[in-house]
Symmetry: C2
Amino acid sequence: MPLLTSHQVLDIRFPTSESLDGSDAMHTDPDYSAAYVILRTNQPGLEGHGLTFTCGRGTEIVAATADVLCRMLTGTSLDSITQDFAGWWRRLTSDSQLRWIGPEKGVIHLATAAVVNALWDLWAKVEAKPLWKLLADMPAEQLVSTIDFRYLADALTPAEALAILKANDPTRNEREAELHHTGFPAYTTSTGWLGYPDEKIIRLVREGIAAGWNHFKIKVGANLEDDRRRAALVRREIGPDRKLMVDANQIWDVPTAIDHIRALAEFNPWWVEEPTSPDDVVGHAAIAQAVAPIGIATGEMCQNRMIFKQLMQLDAIRFCQLDSCRLGGINECLAVMLLAKRFDIPVCPHAGGVGLCEHVNHLIMVDYIRIGASLENRVAEYVDHLHEHFEHPVVVRNARYLPPTAPGYSITMKSTSLRDYAFPQGPVWQRKLSP
Amino acid sequence: MPLLTSHQVLDIRFPTSESLDGSDAMHTDPDYSAAYVILRTNQPGLEGHGLTFTCGRGTEIVAATADVLCRMLTGTSLDSITQDFAGWWRRLTSDSQLRWIGPEKGVIHLATAAVVNALWDLWAKVEAKPLWKLLADMPAEQLVSTIDFRYLADALTPAEALAILKANDPTRNEREAELHHTGFPAYTTSTGWLGYPDEKIIRLVREGIAAGWNHFKIKVGANLEDDRRRAALVRREIGPDRKLMVDANQIWDVPTAIDHIRALAEFNPWWVEEPTSPDDVVGHAAIAQAVAPIGIATGEMCQNRMIFKQLMQLDAIRFCQLDSCRLGGINECLAVMLLAKRFDIPVCPHAGGVGLCEHVNHLIMVDYIRIGASLENRVAEYVDHLHEHFEHPVVVRNARYLPPTAPGYSITMKSTSLRDYAFPQGPVWQRKLSP
């Protein structure tokens, strides 16, 4: 049985700020990055890889934190972890001294995600299955046993989670077959970054329509006039039937959000994403009530299952955009997907960044096969960049994610990318940083 | 005018886990620690000192983060910061790349507190006033101008904040004089740490009563039988009129909290502190409604002003226990104190730890003189340890905090303590860590 013997944590950065890919109202010049974890074992060549997405500066802080967490695992057998995964997850997130600097939020939770995702990658590789298939085949009781239900009792108990899985079990093979055949619907954010000029947006939307995309998202929040012009422009290009989504990236306070969304209503947005602070559950509820039937979406910066629980309890979101690295890895993603099922809210995961599409590809398969079990109002984000750095990049065809086939969590980066983009010592950064 | 020329960040740890001082249901073995910031200037001997409290492991992560933030300040004049303090606060908390690893929560916000508090310490030293006096004398408009009101518009506007201050201005000198004369009421947590045996608690309670204390807090949450025994024991010792508070340190989920608090009701707790996750605003509201008239208190792990805003909007807390280092320094503490005034909730700050009593001493003076302007249901935490490491330790007499007199924010540690307790290179740790 594999034993965790050592680890390595890397700070990998891509200089995306040069082209303003990924620019939005709050993140004007991101260098898409990753704190990247490698868990080594006593079996030659058998490694678990995991990452958490970051935006450049600060990656070194998350990497240092992941290193601290990895040390808790050294000398442990993978078996002893997977047989008590909820217990280990609690140990990683609730260390009696470390929890003060979280708990379960921000830096330490991002680092937890990288480490926990590397454990799942390793487990799936040992089982010689892609991660989604490991979870698709797992007995319901075992899947529930991986989740730490702390603080969820007023919304979701283990028994309720088990009932959800059991109810879906008889039909899960049909949904798995369907995914192999037609994939899971995706939408694109590649068209509307805030830094792009109008002509570039028009060109990208037209290319997107030609490639079969039916959902288009644009960034808003710089100023109302620009936002209205860009929304009108995209709506004109996509026609009345395709979906337009807008994303404010937390730029507004609650009253401004309500005014601004009402001023965009004529362009018929399907959802408005991150209208205000991701911490403001009550604010999201107020906005949702004021702008209905326009749906409110959030999640990429929602720090843990407790925030999602409250967003659902207060009927504050119509779409749950959980983030595979903001939450503390697969175990907590499963908890949030189960919560969403309980509250009948579609899960439309956040992606883009570095490796998030690769992660999300597995999560949506698991959600459809075992938890949400519906495609209604489901659409997973897709951004077409940085996939070339992964050994098993995501496959999207006809605007649909196809099930991954390689064993693991699809997060292993090519060794050349790990070498070239290492910060600051890799050759790409040495060239950029040299005077 | 002082110019910020360089900085130093230290990792200072006290081996408090040896005696279980500070032990509670979630933090079973804390080593009370600090990420400690020194901002140096072009004026010899003029330095700003600030810290954020931590629990041992993880201090190095917060210290590394504070170092990143300090670098943003180098070369800036203190004047240019204090003349646009809200703007600088926003710059520190909203860096377009760094905010991804927060924003405004956990590691990065704890680090922000240390840096921002050091700036205020420096400003007060330049003005040759204790920090509370700098704020007591400041024109209302200037005080409001230090606050970043982002995400508060649905609960508190700058105009409303100004109106609160203006309404209190005519009587502020009376309250200041009163504080000099009689101080601000305190309560003690030194008696009831979870790791203490019953006999030690009895002895400490009796000593506390003899020293004039009227409020006693005990830790609960290990198991109901123990909690009932300890609550009964303390209630018997203090009699029916003194106040008993209990602190669960987030151990319960919502239904368990309700059951457990009801089972403690016969001992008449004045408040129950941290019944569940600090992130669960909706859960606190449910608990508060179920256990009234017992008051719910929380705050030491409430990550920012948005969480306090919601706790107040949902009527989820009867006592606001803001933490001077969990929030992003004085500027955000002022915002939360103003919110509390708007919602008529007493501010009873969290203290203890390392240096928190020294911080809190200033905050309660400012709150009474300029914002809350009442002593009703106000009581500030006091824990009698680690004060000997500070150059100007807090003075508590007859169970009341007295106004600090030395210029600054009272956070400068003795150079011998900074040397001896530096982790891991200080002699105290070298002795402990050597085999």
